[in-house]
Amino acid sequence: MKHFFTLICLLVLYGSPAELIAQKATADKVKSFRVTDANSIVDRNNEVTGYYMWYWVDRKDKKNNAYILRILDNNTNLVQDIPISLPKTYFFLECSFNGEAFALLFFDRAKKSLIMQTLDKSGKRIKSHTFPKSKGQELNVMTARIKSDYFARMVYPTDENGFILTRDVKNSKLGYSIEAYDNQMKRVWQYGSKKNSNMFEMAEVQYTSDKYVVLSVMKKPGLLSRDLVFDLIVVDATNGNEIMAKKMMDKEKYGVLGLEVDEEKEEMLVVGEYYGGSDKIFYDKSKGLFLMNIKMDGTTKVTTNSWVREIKKVVRVSDKGKIEDGGYIAFHKIIRTSDGSVFAIGEMFKKTVSGVGVAASIITRENQGLSNFKIMDMVVLKFDPEFNITSFETIEKKDRTVHLPAGWETVSVNLIATHFKVGGYFDYYFSTTDKDRDRHFITYLSSDRSDGKKQTYVGAIIIDEGEYSTDRIETDRGATSLIVLPAKSGHVMIGEYYKKAKKLEARLEKYDF
């Protein structure tokens, strides 16, 4: 399911672009900034290798505009400014880099079609390809991206020779297509849902390399149906042939939260929450956490930790997964370290208004106001290599109230969690990984009070050498607003905007652990 929504505020600068130089950058005369058009460039391990900024320069002629694609490395050194001329109907979506070529994705608002262009390392255009007119869900997603800050990644680098593009397509219902292109925009292969499938299917790329592409595919019989299941599909990255398709369901259902591929051992490790066989994922409360080892031949081994048995040994939790004196947990990231330990990072939340008042308002048809929820502490669950839970710890942060329209408190906690994730209500921002050194960084944003004043800070949970620690980076109270971006491993990019001074200061800050 394409719910990849990042809370990250991205920026584009009007007027002269900021030169983000190493150490600290200041951009003056920043009249305003917009949450689009700049993002990190990630490699196939999802590690930040740089940044791109896309900005408009001039109207070239009646039909075309002049733009600059600015490329920075992951130390924010300016690497290249690539001038690009395009029809003014093109809307910039994203930029990817595979080590040899850039891929730019646009949407033509007039012709309602996707365009993908590849550029070589000098910024010279290699090829441009226009896709057939977008329809249905793809068109809806494009419209959402144009009108709002909604970001749903579609392009992934595989190796130095190409990219993968994910698309929603019209089958008899809704389907997906995963298309591999080389740097010359020649289609190498295509894999997707069956045209005659009677299910709504939405795919998310979990892993890419020059050997495998791994997808998690959410399927449900109807658009409004709550009865969804996941498939895990492994595709040969060289030719698009299906290697394995695993239904994430046996007598229980499994919702994927994290996935790792060990190409040497030809196996995957999948983690997430599991549900009863008749439960509805995202709607019903999970039964606990699972760890699944799947070999490429399909052989599977599952280990579970349920709320009512295993997890209860380390923390007081109700049968429905509510932590005593706490709340429910929404898991953001599950990590397996090289020694086999597993860490599940989540965030607690709870309802704070009973459903009775709401029910009364429904009966009386009077607006009784809002539904209140609280976003609470971060949590870390640790499991040993046998997936036995060994500890449950909370990382305190200030509770924050979220208001939703009246009636939401009657909705299931899982759906609330999903809604919060998609809507960016949680304090969790993003996670980054240093695969070489097996370090993982989970970033969130929170605030507390010191000296009677609000102090916003960037919080981090760091997993290194099989243990976790925390860190916190305070931001400048004088800043009007804040931008927080993923950065290279162990770092975070913090931008502090001062509206009165029309100044933006950005710096790479290192976590301490």
């Binding site: 600290k24 320069v57 924010t76």
Partner: protein, 479 residues
Amino acid sequence: MIAQVLLFAAASGTVSAQSGQPYQPLPFLTESESFSGLVTERYESSKSEVAALDKRVRSHMEGTFGSIQEIYLSYLEEGACMLNGPIYSHVFDILEEVFKANPELRHDKTLLISRFPEFNAFVTNNGVVTVFLGLLTALESDAQLAFILCHEIAHLEMKHADARIRAQAERVADKQFRKEVRTASRQTYGGRIRLMELAREIGFEAARHQRYKESEADSLGLEYFMKTRFYSPDAVRNMEILDSIDFDRSTMLNLEQIFHHDSYPFSKDWLYYAGASSMASVEYNMRFSIDSLKTHPDCLERKEMLERILSSRFPGRSDGLRFIRSEQDFIKLNRMANLEIAESYYRWKNYDLSMYYALQLLEQYPDEKYLHTMVGLNMAQLCAAYQRRELGKVLGYTSMDQPESFNRMLAFLHELRSREMGELAYWYLEKHVPEPIDERSTFAKALAAKVSGRTGEFDSLKKVYLKNYPNGEFIEELN
């Protein structure tokens, strides 16, 4: 401002530290009524000199004069100026020698030593001759500096700066140019691009103008120089030095050897290095042609021109003074300039550059206690910043346009956790400055104790500092 990464020139001889006593850096000047008064006065007089010109030309020129005034005032405020002291007086003596040999010259030039590390000197229309500390580290003799001063004075005598400012003002005020600007700003299509092109043209024209004038200044400067007592071949040698300046001659630092201590062994993990840039494979493009913006024509061309003039106008002349006082004095100047650069970086909170510079200088001056103190002090300051979670404000990152040795040092510092930084600072100072020997080393050791969590030791060192240096410059930081 991007801090300049240093390219080292070999000193003309290795000098060991004065026995025992560490170098005491010169005071940082951030105020000078006389200098700011002079700059302001010259700004006003520059304005009156152009009062009769066309309104537009005058307005642009006044704007440029104002910018020049602001630059100098901000130099002063930043502590970038040396207007007195031993370095200043040494250079001033050479300047005086030039004036003595050329009595026809107007003596209304003001000397400024800039603390920036660039290999450069320049003049502005207000008669200020600026010599950078970096230049003083690169030269081999007073005679070479004398030629450079003659070159700059020639610019002033021929009013090149005024001519350039006027030419640019006239260009901008030119009817045709203004029409082009108006047209571009009203253009529906391509107007902004055209405006950027026009701005770029102005910049390139200024650079071309400047390049032509360099040859004139070389020629007239040589005339002034040859009237002095200085050694004439050094005028030519200057060009060879300038030509070699772009080569990185910094030493690859053996960080393990530098920072290892038996009580805190060095970890090879700290040497992890992923390269200068994550985008090293991407073509690194400059937006402007480098050659178009060069203001100094090819040094070898200039060298040939000087040789031609010397052989035709001054055949057989190869005598003269290389040093106005003594070679030892010059070597001392060289050394002081180097040490002051390390100090300047520290004062500007460029702890990474200050540490790097100090480590490089230790190759030349291995016994200089000041440098050892600076290495430990910079490490302690980096640690303190890290503990405040402000490391990103004081520690730079690797980059393709920096020397590899600097990049590796940066990468090493980024590998450290704050407790490791604190320990390295502490043990480095234990090894090289075991006892506090002056105010700076007392403060450095106190700070290192503090950031490494040695509260007791910090308290006693603080007491020592407050007792011995009750008005010391680091009091605020200790409290």
